[in-house]
Amino acid sequence: MAGQSPHVGLFVTCLVDLMRPSVGFAAVKLLQAAGCAVTVPAAQTCCGQPAYNSGDDEDARAIARRVIAAFEGFDYVVAPSGSCAGTIKVHYPRLFAGDTDMAKRAEDLARRTHELTSFLNDVLQVTDSKAEYRAKVTYHDTCSGLRELAVKTAPRALLGGVKGVELAESGGAETCCGFGGTFCVKYPDISGHMVDAKADDVIASGADVLLGGDLGCLLNIAGRLKRRGAAVGVRHVAEVLAGMTGGPAIGEGEG
């Protein structure tokens, strides 16, 4: 591969596709700036996590099969989400544990798959950025990214290269926000209390903006901050790294 640009298949993730496409474009921009050729396979929808986490292994497997097929042949597969990358990297091989041929393909995809910030920093060794963002930010370590993929230093290292960013760590950065995919739908009251505690923690950090690498969690936290009328913006870290912070923050309106 020496001299050639790595070919990356972008796994957009269903939430970015539907709720905040700008994160997808930020990811494309970052990958291209790092010298990658980026392709977005049209046959993708979702990684299948809602089925998998609900015990519907049959549908989870059916969806996983499609993802595996759609992303065959890329040097790398990158997702702007620790949760979806974790599903592909950690859980797909488990799903096909009884099926040697599929397990091999799942393992192969798992090896090539990375969460965006980890790919940029750990694999491509990117540290600098041309972006500038004058704000005091705090970072929320999303659970799957942190505990399944050990994404902790990568986003911080990358943010360190953005001019103007001041990082104010919060005490509960590693505490779950209560999103949990289907959890927030099944147990909204408990989830609501958890995200309220998260909002307390974010506000206490004194930051103007909360950043993170998973849109599900960010929608949850932004939703609670907004309901409380807190003046803290919420963005996906890719937006800041790509210098694409012109539009409204998550949950902010245009007028």
């Binding site: 957009v12 269903c14 970015v16 596709d17 539907l18 709720m19 905040r20 496409p21 700008s22 997808g24 474009f25 049209a42 046959a43 993708q44 929808t45 299948g48 809602p50 089925a51 609900s54 015990g55 519907d56 292994d57 549908d59 059916a62 969806i63 499609r66 659970c143 799957s144 505990r147 399944e148 590693e174 505490t175 779950c176 209560g178 999103f179 949990g180 995919g181 959890f183 099944k186 147990y187 909204p188 009251d189 408990i190 989830s191 609501g192 209390h193 958890m194 309220d196 505690a197 949850n220 932004a222 939703g223 609670r224 907004k226 309901r227 998550i250 949950g251 309106g253 245009e254 007028g255």
Partner: protein, 474 residues
């Protein structure tokens, strides 16, 4: 105890508005986890010890028969007896028979989760024998008629005022205006009362943190020393323990003890660690005349080698509860049965049935914090998923959830259709939400919008915009 796991949602709702509980949980969240972290930081080899402890238990599970038989042999050699019990009923019967044989009227008890699991107190009471809990927390909840809300800190849900009130109500014959405003006062009062009970008891029942195959000893750790009085003062000592508690040697027991206290409370070691081996020998200055071990299976043997094998490594340290954000939000009682938190959500469906405890494996965000701190490296989230799969396969999922999931999966497997459906919906929602940026209310998402706004989508989906761009710049 009667399970209330079926009404988990209601239990949780009540917990969320219980001000005393909220204060207690906040305190817990700032207590044990911080102490654990400090204890771990002070011991550089902690991670290695976790691996060693895990390996010990894995070996035990591979050779469980061997170690249990060895343990029994050693107990018998020392003049004790082992009673093998398949289920709770057999274990209750065995304990009752021993108590009746001893002519017992009251028995003292030190904290035992197996005692809770088989509901030994109810069984003894029903047969005219009075059990007295001697762990302070257990004693308090026994007075209140409540189940434990935490596996190592059973009364963690209570405030001091609630305890004071309970003592005033339950301790007859003491001056009504006595001083009970300091923890010290409560402790002294409980201690004075329990001292009488210790001396009066005919039988002492303890749990066991470990059973040691090499020596036939049982290891019991406490912070109050109550287990020592329970096992040495009465004439008969009964140990109730589940079979996976066995470890090969004293050396192995020490390795596990080193991770146990640190994980549980952040202590280097518990205040009292006692190894009891058999009844009193000639020349011993104290100890019981009889020594019984009631060994409980209750479905554990059947878990070996299956999906839930790893949970048999559990040493009941409570770290997974202390660090669980859901437990920290609702407390232990909401789970509705003896074991709460992540370990409870894994154990309860197996012990009281998936129909009964179906909520528990779902009431987790699968955040993975429990597995991160579990000293025995038990993959708790993976096992919660195993239960969810069984639920789905056995059609125990509510029909509406199942239908919604199936509908979504139908689309997710058909990209073109998915694109058409979601593309339209997002454009519509995007247009509706653009000005304010979020919705305060949303049909079908009332749960979400009760506590938070729903951020509006930007509009056209990524895939729609991407294919347009590609069209413009081939």
């Amino acid at each position: 105890m009667e399970s209330t796991s079926r009404t988990f949602e209601d239990n949780a709702r009540k917990a969320l508005i219980d001000a005393d509980l909220r204060r207690a949980l906040t305190k817990l969240g700032h207590g044990f986890p911080v102490k654990r972290r400090m204890a771990v930081e002070r011991l550089p080899e902690f991670e290695g010890l976790r691996d060693a402890a895990r390996a010990i238990k894995e070996d035990v599970l591979e050779n469980l028969d061997f170690y249990l038989e060895r343990f029994e042999e050693r107990v018998v050699e020392q003049g004790g007896q082992v009673h093998w019990c398949v289920d709770a009923a057999e274990a209750n019967q065995a304990v009752l028979a021993i108590c009746q044989e001893a002519g017992a009227r009251t028995v003292t008890k030190s904290k035992s989760m197996i005692g809770e699991e088989i509901a030994i107190n109810e069984h003894l009471e029903a047969n005219g024998i009075t059990p007295v809990e001697t762990d302070l927390g257990e004693y308090i909840i026994q007075l209140r008629g409540e189940p434990p809300s935490h596996i190592i800190a059973p009364a963690i849900h209570l405030s001091m005022d609630q305890v004071t009130e309970t003592f005033r109500q339950c301790h007859d014959g003491l001056a009504a205006d006595r001083e009970l405003s300091e923890p010290r006062d409560l402790l002294e009062e409980a201690r004075a009362i329990l001292r009488q009970k210790f001396l009066a008891a005919d039988v002492g029942i303890t749990g066991a943190n470990m059973l040691i195959a090499e020596t036939g000893s049982v290891a019991v750790v406490t912070n109050e020393g109550n287990a020592d009085l329970t096992m040495t003062l009465p004439r008969v000592h009964v140990v109730i323990a589940s079979l996976e508690k066995v470890v090969p040697t004293l050396e192995d027991a020490t390795t596990i003890l080193r991770v146990l206290a640190r994980s549980a409370t952040g202590q280097e070691t518990s205040v009292y660690t006692t190894f009891a081996s058999g009844p009193r020998r000639p020349g011993d200055s104290d100890g019981p005349e009889e020594f019984h071990v009631v060994l409980l299976d209750n479905g554990r043997g059947a878990m070996l080698g299956g999906d839930f094998h790893d949970v048999l490594r559990c040493i009941r340290c409570g770290a997974c509860l202390n660090h669980c954000p859901v437990y920290g939000t609702i407390g232990g009682h909401a789970y509705g049965w003896v074991y709460s938190g992540p370990i409870g959500a894994v154990l309860s469906p197996g012990l009281i049935g998936l129909e009964e405890a179906g909520h528990l494996p779902n009431a987790s965000t699968l955040c993975g914090k429990c597995e991160e701190v579990c000293p025995m490296r038990i993959p708790l989230p993976k096992m919660l998923r195993h239960w969810r799969t069984r639920q789905f396969d056995r059609d125990l999922v509510p029909p509406a959830s199942r239908a919604a999931l199936k509908g979504w999966a139908f689309l997710a497997k058909r990209p073109a259709l998915y694109r058409a459906a979601t593309g339209l919906a997002m454009r519509l929602l995007g247009a509706l939400g653009r000005r304010r940026g979020a919705f305060r209310r949303m049909p079908l998402a009332g749960g979400w919008t009760a506590a938070r706004d729903l951020p509006a989508p930007e509009g056209a989906t990524f895939m729609a915009q991407w294919s347009r761009r590609k069209g413009a710049r081939p």
